[in-house]
Each structure stands twice: as C-alpha cells, then as structure tokens.
C-alpha cells in the first residue's frame, strides 16, 4: 500500500509523515487554480531527491483554459519527467493521446470520470430498492467492460475512487488496474457558479474571481445528511471511516486530502 498526501505548497513537503511515499498537487475541480510548469519541475526535483513520487491532479477544463492545460501536458511530456497525471476531462486525455504523450505521461482516471455514485444517501437505499439496483449504485461506472477499449487506448493504469460512505462493488473486468482512494473527502457536485464569489448585482453567474476560496472555508449543515464542505467550487462530505465493504485489500494507494 502506498500512502500519499495532497500538498498545497513547497513548504508542505517538510511536514510529511514518514509513511508518505508520494505527493499530489493540482486541483481536480477548478480550472482557474493552476500550477506553473516551472514550479512543477522544481517540485519534481525536490520530491525525487527525497525519494517521493509526484502526482498532478487536473480538473474538468473549460474552453477558456484548455490551451493552458494542453501546454502544461506538452511541457511535462517533453521534459520526460516521471509524473502521474490525474485526468478529469476527456478532452485533455484525447489531446495527450493524439500528441503521443502517453509514452511519457502515466494516466490515472480521476474521480470525476470514474463516476461513482457518491450521494451520502446511497446506503439508505439498501433494503428499499432491490439488491440489483443497490449493487448498481455501489459500483463505480468506469469499472466496466464497456470501458475496456477506452482504458487500453488511453493507457489508463489507475482509477481514483472516493471514500464513499457505503459498500463498494468491484465487478470483474478484462483489464488490469490500480486504485487510488481519496480520503476523507467525498465530492458530490461541482459548479462554476462559485459560492465564494460575491454575486455581481445579486446575479448568480460565472464571474471572475480573486481566489477567495484560498482564504475562506465554507460549509453547509443539511437536515438529512449533516455537514458538507466546499472544496473550492465543489461540495463534499467527510467520511473518516475506511470501510469499502472490507475491500481495503483492493486499494493500492490512499491519498490523504486536506480541506484546501
């Protein structure tokens, strides 16, 4: 089992516990939050020096920022550095494949493309729907033979799952894979109508930001399901219990996240 930690800055490298052998940077949810390639390169050399592997999370990407992320992939591929890239956008994945960067970039299918039903109420469906329906809801969609061709074409070697608050079913599939489990935050929805930004003239919309999310932590207390937190533009709940239907043996890497 690999233990990994999400870090926000170079300084965080000095705070790592001994068991950590990999660090992740980047953002899965907001395409406005970016790391410069030069900083990634510096961090890569620092982590390599310390015997740590490096992973880069990338978000779902809008037309406004696709060029930036494509350039970043080009730079990473050309530098021939050994970084795992977590992909949450089929457009970026396709760009990497079409440009021959799969030779140097190692791909993990991110939590947004794996499409687990992460709804906190999934466990409440047990006994109220048939076993067939319940199992369907508890099965990650990307773990399906219908994805085989895609997995092979794009050299996807790992899936990023979330520590959902219910059982997980692992169906038999005809491809090999590793699982990276994000812990303890479980995302349920993302938005570009960002809750951190003051509404302009009281209007809900896609407005410019000053990275307000870096200095402010927002949460919601909801009657049925308890507390949710905002991780940038994404709503998530915290589940500190590692259960996964007793299937921890299926997990290859636990990625400890912070409320960033």
């Amino acid at each position: 089992m690999t233990y990994a930690k999400y870090i926000n800055s170079f300084e965080d490298l000095d705070k790592l516990e001994k068991k950590i052998s990999m660090v992740y940077i980047g953002n899965d949810f907001c395409d406005r939050i970016k790391w410069d390639f030069s900083d990634i390169l510096k961090l890569y050399h620092k982590t390599t020096h310390r015997g740590l592997k490096l992973g880069l999370k990338t978000p779902f990407i809008t037309e406004s920022t696709i060029e930036y992320f494509q350039d970043l992939m080009k730079n990473i591929a050309n530098a021939s550095i050994n970084i795992e890239v977590v992909i949450n956008d089929f457009g970026l994945l396709d760009y990497i494949e079409k440009n021959g960067y799969l030779k140097t970039i190692q791909i993990t299918m991110g939590r947004l493309l794996c499409r687990q039903k992460t709804d906190k109420m999934t466990k409440d469906l047990k006994g109220k729907v048939s076993d067939t329906v319940y199992q369907h809801f508890c099965t990650p969609v990307a773990l399906a033979n219908s994805y085989s061709e895609l997995i092979r074409k794009y050299h996807i070697t790992a899936f990023e799952f979330e520590n959902i608050d219910c059982e997980v079913y692992f169906p038999k599939v005809d491809f090999e894979y590793r699982i990276v489990l994000t812990y303890p935050y479980v995302s349920v929805g993302s938005t570009r109508l960002c809750p951190y930004i003051e509404k302009q003239n009281e209007v809900l919309g896609i407005w410019d930001c000053n990275y307000e999310c870096k200095n402010k932590k927002l949460y919601i207390k909801e009657d049925l399901c308890g507390e949710y937190v905002y991780i940038n533009n994404t709503i998530a709940y915290k589940n500190e219990r590692l259960e996964l239907n007793g299937s921890l043996k299926e997990i290859d890497c636990i990625l400890d996240e912070i409320w960033r």
């Binding site: 089929f90 457009g91 396709d94």
Partner: protein
C-alpha cells in the same frame, strides 16, 4: 424553422405522451426528445428509471406508444430522440441492448447518451443510431468535442455552465457537427456531468426526501471561521423561481449559424408548461434579427416573458450572463 436570414434554429422539446405532440408542433417545437421505460427494465430495476427522471410521469412505458410517436414525427418530417442519459454498469448492458433493438424497430434514429461506455457499446453492437452526447457527457472544450466525434457522436449538447463566448469559440472550430444549448427551465448550480446525487429515484422512495442537490440549495452556506452565514445562499433562488432558467435574451449573443438546437427541459412537466417555454423561445427568435443592440432585445424578451409567464423576468432566471 427559419428565424431571420437563412439560419435554421430548432426548438428541442420534451414529451411524455403522444397527445401533446400536435400542440407543441403548432407552437414551434422543431424536434422532440423523451424517455422510454421498458417493462423488462422495470422488472429488474423497479422505480429506478435509468434515465434520471421518475418512472411513469416522465417516460413512455410501452413500445407501441414509442412506435406510434415515431411514426407521427416521421409523417411530420420531425426528428425524435430517446434519452439514455444515466451511467450504466456491466450488469445492465444485456438489457440495454434488447431495449435499443426494440426502439430501433420502433423507428427511433437518435439517442441521447451521457456515458462513454454506452457510446462505445452502441458502436460495437453496430446500431446505426445518431448519437447526441448529453449534457451529462461534460463537453466543456474543443478537445472534448473531438473526443466524442471520434467515438461516433453527431451532436453535442453543451453543459449548462459554459459561457456564450466559450460555446461560440468551440463551434467555430467544427463544421458538420450539430450543437445544442439549453434554452428554458432546469437551471442547476451543479454541473450535470459531475453530479453524483441520485436523480430519478428519491421521490418515489419514502423517507429519502428530495434530491440531494435540491436539499443543499435550500441550506444556508456558512463560514467556518465564525459560523456566520456567508454570502447569503447563492443557490436558494433557483428552487423558488417559477421559471428556473431562461436563455431567451442570451440568444442574441449565440452564434445561431452554429448552435441551432435550443433545448427545453422537463420531460415530466405538464403540456401547458412546455407550451409556454416553446412559445417564449419561438417569439424571442422571431424578432431577433430586428434588434440592433442587446439592450433593446433584452427589453423585448422581458416583455414577452411577462406576457407568457405572467411574472417579471429577474436576472437569476438567466442561464447565461451577457
């Protein structure tokens, strides 16, 4: 239907019964989409529809009615599409294949699909359906358009949370691809493609309450530092609007030569609600070319809105900010 010059724009309208088709065509509907809940599916999955809308209220429930509506649309020269816009797991694929066979025999030629796994299987099984990539496909950049085209897509239905500028930029890069945009109802703060709440099942199971996203929209957002309410509740307004989402005045900024399918949301809605939406979009489009400024066109749309819905338009109705 031509709206100024030679640009053809079609209003893509939801239906859940054959009776409403004629009235909606009369109002200006140019295409239809609907759900089909097969009896064999219901035998296994009961209340879970597999197309993100509650069972009987939002779907056709026997194949003969699908055939009937398909024939009616063909006689009018109008296209229809069936929604398969959920995510599917391996155990469902044999049943999905049977259902696709049934609807193909019933004359359906278009399917709306969100899951790349199902898109791959439709091609593998050699069905000849035109594939419309659902908003659930999450196509937010031109490389994602290329990705889905390579996998056999004919039409891209843009996610709700793109800007007009982003959509126009993307469409400029492609020819021969159909693009569709949301026009009326169903504005949601969370991006459909990345929403992991249960839809289409909660309301039919006692004790589960409404969908998670609706419950969250109604809850205040708090600041962790001082537990004070932060920034009001930005999303609560969406639940309280009579008309939850309208893109009528935004049509001014849309490149209609490229984005010429405008979607109305609400498969399970009453006919009257659908009629109002089609009428709103049609009237907005009809006059569009006569306006020289956005400001004048916006005023015009607001007037139509008030006449049509009997309430004033407010800015939080807007799908897209101009």
């Amino acid at each position: 239907m031509k709206y100024g010059g030679d640009i053809i724009v079609k209003i893509v309208t939801p239906i859940n019964n054959i009776k409403e088709v004629h009235e909606l065509i009369k109002e200006g509907a140019g295409e239809f989409y609907f759900g089909y809940l097969d009896p064999d599916w219901m035998q296994y999955y009961g209340a879970y529809s597999g197309n993100r809308r509650e069972n009987y209220l939002a779907n056709f429930i026997d194949i003969s009615s699908v055939k009937e509506v398909s024939q009616l649309l063909a006689s009018q020269g109008i296209e229809g599409a069936i929604t398969f816009n959920d995510r599917y797991t391996d155990s469902q694929y044999s049943l999905l294949k049977e259902i696709l066979h049934k609807i193909e025999e019933a004359g359906i030629t278009n399917v709306i699909v969100a899951d790349i796994g199902l898109i791959q299987m439709i091609r593998k099984w050699a069905f000849s359906f035109n594939i419309h990539v659902s908003t659930g496909g999450g196509v937010m950049n031109h490389s994602a358009v290329k990705f889905y085209l390579d996998h056999g897509a004919k039409r891209i239905i843009f996610p709700r949370q793109l800007t007009i500028e982003e959509m126009n930029q993307m469409t400029l890069m492609f020819s021969g691809v159909e693009f569709e945009v949301f026009g009326m109802y169903g504005r949601d703060p969370y991006i459909d493609a990345f929403c992991r709440f249960h839809h289409g099942i909660n309301s039919v199971i006692p004790g589960l309450g409404s969908c998670g996203c609706i419950r969250l929209n109604n809850s205040a957002i708090m600041n962790k530092e001082d537990d004070a309410i932060s920034n009001g509740n930005p999303y609560r307004c969406l639940n309280s609007l009579n008309v939850d989402g309208c893109a009528a005045c935004a049509l001014y900024g849309l490149d209609r030569a490229k984005i010429n399918y405008i979607k109305i949301v609400g498969r399970g809605s009453k006919t009257e609600r659908k009629v109002k939406a089609v009428r709103m979009i049609k009237k907005s489009l009809e006059e569009l070319e006569n306006f020289k400024t956005y400001s004048d066109y916006e005023k015009h749309c607001k007037k139509i809105f008030k006449e049509n819905f009997n309430v004033s338009c407010i800015k939080n109705n807007c799908y897209f900010n101009i």
